[in-house]
Amino acid sequence: MLAPDSKPAGKGVIAWIDHRLPIFTFMNHELNEYPTPRNLNYFWNFGSLSGVMLMIMIISGIVLATHYTGNTQMAFQSVERIMRDVNGGWLIRYIHANGASMFFIVVFVHMFRGLYYGSYKPPREVLWGLGVLILLLMMATAFMGYVLPWGQMSFWGATVITNLFSAIPWIGEDLVTWLWGGFSVDNPTLTRFFALHYLMPFLILGVVVLHLIALHRFGSNNPLGIDIKEKKDSIPFHPYYTIKDLFGLAVFLLVFAGFIFYQPNYLGHPDNYTPANPMVTPAHIVPEWYFLPFYAILRAFTLNIHIPFTDIMLIDAKLGGVICMFGAVMVLFFLPALDKHPVRSAKFRPYYRPFFWLFAIVCVILGYVGSQPPEGNMVIIGQICTAWYFIHFLVVLPVLSRIEPVKSLPHSISAPVLQQPARA
């Protein structure tokens, strides 16, 4: 029900519609006058950039789907036809292929911003959880999309990842046969991956809407990590942040265009321009770069865990790796429960800050380890970094929550700005 004093927006037809469907009031409230902290830095651009990337991926993807054939005999050829014969097809495919990488880099920055400034802390825990759910859906969507060109990396990536589920005790083998729709990755697998790859972006869109509803409940966090207390702490979203987001978008699109037009295959793997061959495994299977840290965690587990003094195996190395890899994402859901420190922003957490940067470096090293063959030093480095990844969440954060002193925070968002002495 409308509040008694609410006035419909606009005049004439707009007012008539708005009285019956308050879409204009909603847009004015959420996109125009929406009060936003005045001190957001450029790291706050990456949320809207993620939204733009989702739209670019959906639009370019729908156009690609009109030219693509989801059949093992024709998939590779149809992608090559898009590249050579379809008008502007090369551009649309390069936008879509590089767009996946851009989407992940933007989302990763968005997440690390949340980690640094404590955006997952009360009252934004559900907002954070929905974001992790979006990441999970994105990973599934990107994985299935990479299978569609039906190159060697498509086929063998699909084989390795679907085989992860065979590690599940008792039902694993049957589950994998069910996922495949056969006894190996083959045509039934390709057709269902195409159907799901088309579906999942719209699921992501649905969760993004929930993510935005949860965001607008309490508004954006900010670099100081303190709440909006007075009117002068905030500024209207439009025009201040619409223009800032658009400026950031322009810079981002320059980078994106640089990849599309000058290095369109830099982030891909040359083996995927070889048609899929179930009889020959490429010498070195690597996933796309955005999965490399998780791939390194998967491979880090090399021990079988037995019940002590017996031969009864509890968790073999394969299942252990799979649990670790899924656990690496799942642990993010529990982040608000693991980090209970009352101060949000790392700016006022001198103990947490170095651990944040250490964690970021560990993630980058894991990415590098994931790109290398599992030999020599890479194995042990991967194991140390995997251990630290979990120690950071399961030990460091709970301990810091207890021992890190609570520093006194600025009185308000506007106070540090307005109290600065006037410059001569």
């Binding site: 390795v160 085989n163 069910w178 729709g181 006894f183 269902r192 190395a317």
Partner: protein, 182 residues
């Protein structure tokens, strides 16, 4: 005629209402599961996929020491014509040292012919070693290039992350020159 309401008309029997809610929700969930079943079942291997069950292979052209890879159910099957030395090494292996102990004689029908599903039991890559020019690992059998699993001349896992030996598919010798897999 307005009669005085009896206690059974006015007093809410909470237990009875809970029972009705719970049975109604349970039946709704059961109904949804029944409706979902045929949809999920349709994703299992279809009849044409299941029909591709067996393959006949002429093995007379495989020289001693070399292997042939054939497709069976979309998977590579390794048929290896083992040398006397390879057979001896496979039979001499100390079972106590194996991660997945199995005697060589339990894995072959004729010692000179080894038939395996040529898929690494770790994450499904195809190991190298079918040709004498390919990497075969420390145990002279097969080597998986993905994560470094090493198999011996009986296709048993010896080193690396793979949990089990490469499986032996069901097969029969139709005659000395032909086997049927599946």
């Amino acid at each position: 005629m307005a009669s005085k309401p009896s206690s059974s008309d006015t007093v809410v029997d909470a237990g009875k209402r809970d029972f009705i809610s719970m049975t109604a929700s349970t039946l709704t969930i059961a109904g949804a599961a029944c409706a979902a079943w045929p949809l999920l079942d349709s994703l299992r291997p279809a009849a044409d996929v299941r029909a591709m069950a067996s393959t006949e292979v002429d093995i007379s052209n495989i020289p001693v020491g070399e292997g042939l890879t054939v497709m069976w159910r979309g998977k590579p099957v390794f048929i290896k014509h083992r040398t006397a030395q390879e057979i001896a090494e496979a039979e001499a292996a100390n079972l106590a040292e194996l991660p997945d102990p199995q005697a060589d004689k339990d894995r072959v029908k004729k010692p000179e012919w080894l038939v395996l599903v040529g898929i690494c039991t770790h994450l499904g890559c195809v190991p190298t070693g079918q040709k004498s020019t390919e990497a075969r690992g420390d145990y002279k059998g097969w080597f998986c290039p993905c994560h470094g699993s090493q198999y011996d001349t009986s296709g048993r896992i010896r080193k690396g992350p793979a949990p089990t030996n490469m499986p032996v598919p069901p097969y029969t010798f139709i005659n000395d020159k032909t086997i049927r897999i599946g």
